[in-house]
Symmetry: D3
């Protein structure tokens, strides 16, 4: 189940992991929309069907996720780990995700942050993905021999809610203000109708992005948290400073 549109050579594919069918969209859907519009292939791996949540049946949730990924220009696959609200950190899961990393060979990986927040599954999946990106590099792991080893370029964490933003990491902000990007993101979030009906998730995320945008001097922005320091060839490449007020 490879991403449909191949990335151009200069844009290594993006691989995003979510613990529940809506986590990627709510946490960083605007970034996905921006990247796919720029031609980068994006693939989602969703690790439960949201079966523990108060609203929506698993079949609905899966259908919503497929529609939402499509609105963002991404492909999607589901993998069953321990089930919604039952996720545990284990080597078996790490190896399973590392196998996906090797198969997809992404440049960029997105995962939920490691900071404890409203759902115990979020930081655990973050930890599994971080470890999976490491194991994908190690040549001697028996269970991973089906695909050659692979070193990703960068791992970024997204935060599903404000409390999940890691306090000790300086974020990078991605400008998602372009009208088509914002519209695709909003549609993708709204596609999770079972959740959007229950709580103001869409407003929450747009409010967060607007606050970041207001502070940074653009319309809307989404914060990502890099797992490693960033290496640049020169200062000309180091983005823009983000402070308007």
């Amino acid at each position: 189940m490879k991403p449909g549109p191949k990335s151009p050579p200069e844009l290594a594919p993006l691989l995003a992991f979510g613990a529940h069918p809506d986590d990627i969209e709510f946490g960083c859907g605007g970034v996905i929309a921006k990247e796919t519009r720029a031609g980068r292939a994006a693939h989602f791996v969703i690790c439960s069907r949201g079966e523990a949540s108060s609203h929506g049946k698993p079949a609905q949730r899966v259908a919503e996720a497929k529609r939402s990924a499509s609105l963002l220009g991404a492909t999607v696959e589901f993998t069953e780990l321990d089930g919604d609200a039952h996720l545990e950190v284990s080597s078996a899961h790490t190896l399973e995700l590392a196998g996906i990393v090797r198969r997809e060979r992404p440049g960029i990986v997105l995962a939920p942050s490691l900071t404890e927040n409203q759902h115990p599954d979020h930081p655990r999946l973050g930890q599994l993905v971080r470890d999976a990106c490491r194991l994908a590099r190690y040549g001697g792991v028996k269970e991973l021999r089906k695909f050659p080893s692979h070193a990703i370029d960068q791992l970024f964490y997204y935060a599903v809610t404000p409390e999940a933003e890691p306090p000790g990491l300086t974020p990078v902000l991605i400008d998602v203000s372009a009208p088509d990007v914002l519209k695709a993101w909003t549609s993708a979030m709204a596609a999770h109708a079972t959740q959007a009906a229950a709580r103001n998730y869409v407003e929450l995320q747009l409010t967060r992005a607007r606050l970041r945008g207001l502070c940074a001097g653009c319309g809307h922005a989404i914060a990502l948290f890099p797992n490693d320091p960033l290496l640049f060839d020169s200062l000309a490449a180091v983005g823009r400073g983000a402070r308007r007020f």
Copy 2:
């Protein structure tokens, strides 16, 4: 006393502040060498003549600084605040530095970090520069009316020694491995002969940069600490992840 070589339109000039004649070179000289080689204009403002140090007379120190700046392709000016080892944080100093910011109109400003370290002047100058960059923006400041207001693009802190690295800020790393860059930096540091003779400053800085480089998978790298979150247009622009081990 404008920087000699004008920056090309796409490279806004760089303005670096140092508390003593050798701080810029020891703290981030490799970055300066890289930027000037790429065509960016760089100008140094040195706020004392090093007259309190155990080694070297002020006249020697000034001569060394001029030679060193020249080796890095930068211009240099001296401004007297309270004198070496006497620096205080005051509005008068902030205004003086803000006037220089307005006059030079840099895109990028470099200043010593705010973290307490071996010399009390370092974090104080960092604070003065940070505040000066703010005051340079405010249209109503009477003392600054000689030049129009100016908003810089980005403020980065450099750390003169490892203990000055701010613990709560994620660094960006600049690759300074190119042989000509490394050579220019080393020469510029060695030009401060009165200091290099007294302690292993040159080895200290090259060891730091080598350690950063080893960790990041390049030859040598220098860490800068952005004052504000970084805003990028897309993930393609967010550097490379820096972890080799």
Copy 3:
């Protein structure tokens, strides 16, 4: 210049300090509106006339501040320290503010947070107010003999912008969702027309409060940061837990 409406005995007066004519309103105006509607007397001390800002003349700024305080049900006085964008931390200023604390005898004091942010005056005033609250207690301070010593009940910091929120302090959230409170706050911010015209300050603050409110399960909320741990007589008194998502 005492607060007009006396507080009822059970509500000790509130004293809020601002570095510029609009800081209190933008940082915590909703809290003020809520408290004065509950009958608590509120008095503002504004420490400059905003003369350094790019927009608005001092006379306009003062008029806006008076109108805004009135909309919030607060009285206001101006005190000249070093002038806008020139504030320094000095004993003379601390003593001046401590004198005001003794004269007003507040139960609650509000001050800008100590975290560095877009305006150097903000954290400096925060530091002056914190120290002033201490000096107001010391019986032996000669310059303060005009009024008897006074110990406030609590000092809370407000953050003018998100970057000013102190990273190491757990906030308390005040629910400002009541329509009349929100309306009074919005009007008070809008009364600073010279500033509101230049940047989206009003939207910034309402977006912040809406984001806090969405997370806390109420309409809008404002975060305050207590200077000291909070002491309660029982768990029944410890507010509500604020997590909706």
Copy 4:
């Protein structure tokens, strides 16, 4: 095994979890005594019989815990997870504790803090309880269908020893100075005679509470650490500031 005395309508029941028979008493017994004296129902869930400790047989430990809970006015139940010194974080345990939360329907939950300290079981139980409080809310969790979903009001962490106090959370202090409260707490701690004989646990806890009390200007105080920001309707409700020196 519901709490004996029903809470009055305005005081939702309190549910406290302990990894060992004496953890709740040593960590926050004074708070329990205060709450039950105010009429709030309190129920303890103890997750081992202390069988790994150097002193006391399990049967003794259980008897001590029952007597101690009784002295505090609380009811108690034991649940076997992995056994003393063997606790692991698992979904099965989380679900078991979530079931208890649903059955008891508490307003307030107390759990050991997440900070690593002298006993590995403490932070693990804290994590299990925190996650259990979340799972108790989710309508779709199959294993929990015996009871309707339940959202607690607040989760507070207690620290069994000073090193367990979470460094990044601002505590709330509960005044436990009333003679009958202090006496009940002391008796409840002393009831764990097998432990109190081995080390100065009682003195340790009274010394901690006295130090907090001295700093806060009351006799004795116990620190609790809220998992979420606190939401208040007005400043009048935000306790007292706790600084006497």
Copy 5:
């Protein structure tokens, strides 16, 4: 005014700075008692006469300080900076204290911690002392030419109250349990009768030290916070691990 008893060659003299006549005793008097009993010379520099405090006249305070220092086996001098509750950070003060460091040539320096606490003078004096220890090393400082430059061995911070303990520094604990040490410390604190009568300062400090001692497995202990990492020749020299519970 050199310390009376000369230190033996292997014990470089100790120099302790206090902002008020009782700060050294309350913050670390037990350490002083222990060191002087071991033969180390100790000298106190007190930077005000406590004239702003609510209790005690300056002449009384000075007499108490002299008696207290004598009970601890230390010599004492007073130096007037800005006066009690008026202390500012300035180069002039730093130079004055650096001159004392050069004159006394201590191995160990003790200063109040840099963490904001109940008295604004405390962290400011800490900053002045830290900077003074640096300036004492610099050969070129004109104002200091009366004495040769001097590099101290170590700077430790003491905390006058618990809130002054620096959150980011791991303490070293000094065992002050020996009965004669504890008695000398208690007497020295009690000698500040004007203060001890007003608040429970003596109990506060003994309670702190007892809590540290209980946790560390000794009777009483005082925490000091080293300004620099500690360098040891071998693990045999790295004290004892301090955890009893």
Copy 6:
């Protein structure tokens, strides 16, 4: 499999744990060399044979580890937990390591730090060792009855790479500059030829130690991170302050 050379009575044996055959040497081999040269017995417990790594077969890795331990004067044993890159935190592993602690009865224990870094096994082993040191003390743990309970003196963490250095712990530095110590350490690292050939591990570690040494004023130094505060009998015992620049 006890350490060959018995420690003299005043030097309790050292027990070091490594997740992979080269972790101890790369992380703190210089400290081991120094301690064994001073007569302290050192024993290594290696918890995998490195079978997941890209370079070297398990048999080679084991042979390298044996040779390297021998060069450092240490004995070595291997224990199989979950296998390289498969390590999980479990009670069974903790008990197994606690059994080794009881058998060896070390004074000092060294373990990889708890900070997430390039290999997921590192912090997990650190956590297992920390917990094992606790369980070794508890008299009632059934699985550990083969040996009497044992309380270690101190637990120190080592960092295999710079990113593994715990940000919140102040390190102690051990001077490893003696030529024979440095030579033994370098040889021991080079003995891991399969790894040293693949990446610049030896240079990385020597560069780290040289940087620490330059900052501390000695040739080379290695940082260890104590798990508990350090308790000293007097200031004379508290090492040297480590700041040369």
